[in-house]
Symmetry: C2
Subunit: 244 residues, 2 copies
DNA sequence: CGCCAGTTTGATATAGGTCAAGTGACGTGG
DNA sequence: CCACGTCACTTGACCTATATCAAACTGGCG
């Protein structure tokens, strides 16, 4: 499995259509340092480029203990932090929800690679834009959608992002978040998340077995009003694809 | 006033402490194209670097008409869009709430300037990080704070950002947003914004005369639980300042 | 076996939404 | 200069989505 990390973690970068095979090849020759992160622990890649290889992590406020707001869910293939771009110390911290693996490359290595292959920088930067768009979508979700819509939207987004990484099929994927954690992310109480999920099940949009979720994509998307534009990397020359 | 634009609009970049006087000097010699934007109209700087010089704008979802969610308030000195960094077509659009002036510089000009003066790029990128942090703060505000706290927090943030630009003094500044617009931004109904502002006035944390607001900063911050860390550009070598 | 974390259920409370009507300021055209 | 329309703000009455509290249930694990 370890040798698969190379190709796998670049899939997210790759699927933006900005990279040529040679770019991916070059990326995979970087000096990547694997890192294991224990469930529930926090980590901070600093100015390294850090890509999540497996597991599930969230970004949350750095403040003291207690229930903190989560501002993003980090999935395999996602860039954990953009401090390597912005140089600013983040006000948020990463927390692994499950045991995670991440791959890190030092800022210097990335810089020299990027100087040779600017497409890689472009791909990373457009990830940054997508990540920002996801946060903005969360704002609209929390402030305008009902609990049912919000939860459905969350599941649609996860499915979309996981499928892009080959981690979801036919609306099926596994999700290691407790209902309480989902609640923190969506600004709902754990109890209400529970009832909302029940409602989605009752309507046949969702079925669960343990971690394993199956969505009725059609129905779920119509409940959520899900339009995945914001998750894709449109540019002037390569307009957003609406086929997803 | 026009000739002040040069120095003035760079104040935001300048106050991050990343730029030397020569950098600001160099910035001001860029070929800036001024632009006037009529109130209520939308605009899109594309890949130009676009800095708001005066007025008030918001970032909002690009979708059809009707009440759309706002995801950010853009103040003078702020960078309107980071498309020039990310290259991605944004899913959001800028809308002027009042008549605005903005200064634009073309991507090519910026690139060549930045090659000579990397500190400028760093300053721009750390703005990007701050803007993202502001959005994240909005998420936590909407999902965890009460209407009163949220509104107070919003006002504290505005005061902080305006003061940094020399546009607020002693908690006084003017704000050309209707209560309905504030409501859209904060995820509250216009009616509730109204009652919330009344409550703030009743407590003596706020007084208003037309557009002109005066905050009792001490009280307002304590209501809001306002900690401005997220608005400043901390780095490893220049840690966040807590004096604000 | 018993504990613990997670989920489920029921009962109750409340923050904030919605609707409707009224006020006040300001601008425009007659 | 006044009548009118518009837009923002205000107020009151009512309603509902969601929070909160409390307790029971479940399943895995030491």
């Amino acid at each position: 499995m370890d040798e698969d990390f190379g190709p796998l973690i670049f899939r997210r970068l790759w699927c933006g259509r900005k990279l040529k095979p040679e770019d991916v090849e070059a990326l995979s020759h970087l000096h990547w340092v694997p890192q294991s992160i224990a469930a529930k622990s926090t980590f901070n890649p600093g100015t390294n480029l850090c890509i999540l290889a497996s597991g599930l992590a969230v970004r949350q406020r750095a403040e003291g203990p207690g229930v903190r707001q989560m501002t993003a869910v980090v999935l395999p293939g996602d860039t954990c932090s953009y401090e390597f771009v912005t140089g600013s110390a983040p006000t948020t911290v990463l927390r692994a929800l499950t045991d995670c693996k991440a791959m890190q490359a030092s800022l210097e290595d990335v810089v020299s690679l990027v100087e040779q292959r600017p497409a890689i920088l472009q791909a990373l930067l457009s990830h940054l834009a997508v990540d920002h768009a996801v946060t903005e979508e969360l704002v609209t979700s929390i402030s305008t959608r009902s609990a049912l819509e919000r939860t459905a939207h969350f599941l649609c987004e996860l499915e979309f992002r996981l499928r892009r990484m080959g981690l979801a099929n036919n609306g099926q994927f596994s999700l290691s978040m407790t209902q309480a954690e989902i609640g923190v992310y969506l600004g709902l109480s754990a109890v209400h998340v529970n009832r909302t999920l029940q409602e989605l099940r009752k309507r046949g949009a969702l079925s669960t077995r343990g971690n394993r979720l199956t969505l009725d994509l059609e129905q779920m998307r119509s409940i959520a009003g899900f339009v995945p534009d914001y998750l894709t990397e449109a540019t002037a020359d390569a307009p957003r694809r609406f086929d997803a």
